[in-house]
């Protein structure tokens, strides 16, 4: 059974803290993605990666960075957390070529106070 796991389901951080969100997939997928999901705004792509050490900006990369040192792991980093980054963060993976569904993790609910 395919699986995408995220390091935390719920996280509470203070403004200015550095935050790491980890995602691991066991399907040997080339593509990995980080989205944030907010009410009324749907899923918005932050960053994606199509190979180890490769990354591409999505629609809303400001305030975020990513790291992909291994194929199965994709990390999202909030260098200095702000309250407007309070959101649900979803990680996903897919096969390399387009036209394939994405497999999502359960999400991390991040609250920045």
């Amino acid at each position: 059974d395919v699986k995408v796991t995220q390091s935390s389901r719920y996280l509470v951080k203070r403004t200015g803290e550095k935050v790491f969100l980890e995602c691991v997939q066991d399907m040997d997928h080339e593509n990995m993605f980080w989205y944030r999901q907010d009410p009324g705004l749907g899923l918005r792509l932050i960053y994606f990666s199509y190979d180890v050490k490769m990354k591409e900006k999505g629609d809303i990369p400001e305030g975020y960075s990513v790291s992909r040192e291994k194929k199965e792991r994709f990390s999202l980093i909030l260098e200095s957390a702000s309250t407007n980054q309070t959101s649900m963060y979803l990680c996903a993976s897919s096969l390399w070529q387009g036209g394939h569904e994405q497999y999502f993790g359960p999400g991390t609910r991040l609250t920045v106070t």
């Binding site: 009324g40 749907g42 994606f48 897919s94 070529q97 387009g98 036209g99 994405q102």
Partner: protein, 114 residues
């Protein structure tokens, strides 16, 4: 601009009835479409997909219809059950041969009335 949107943000259906969830897209170059289901507290889960060379695809209790002329996508759920209550997203992908940005619609919340 390019967007994927849903006509109705919420839908209530009696248990046992059929549900129809609609989606409009504006990028005529998109050639791959997916429906996802997201239950409360979970990530989106793949339901069914369709490529642009098809106009209908059926799965178990679900059917997706694609009308490229009017850029419209719909998801039909037969004999809706309480377990079908969720938010449903349509998504479009611009290219089959390489990764292009996937565009998600805002979602429709389906509530099944017992």
């Amino acid at each position: 601009g390019e967007s994927v949107g849903l006509h109705l943000p919420t839908l209530s259906v009696q248990e046992g009835d059929n549900s129809i969830i609609n989606c409009a897209y504006s990028n005529s170059a998109s050639d791959y479409f997916i429906w996802y289901k997201q239950e409360s507290g979970k990530g989106p889960q793949f339901i069914i997909d369709i490529r642009s060379n098809m106009d209908k695809r059926q799965g178990q209790r679900v059917t997706v219809l694609l009308n490229k002329t009017v850029k419209h996508l719909s998801l039909q759920i037969a004999a809706t059950q309480p377990g079908d209550s969720a938010v449903y997203f349509c998504a479009e992908n611009g290219s089959e041969t390489s990764y292009d940005k996937v565009i998600f619609g805002p979602g429709t919340s389906l509530s099944v009335i017992p």
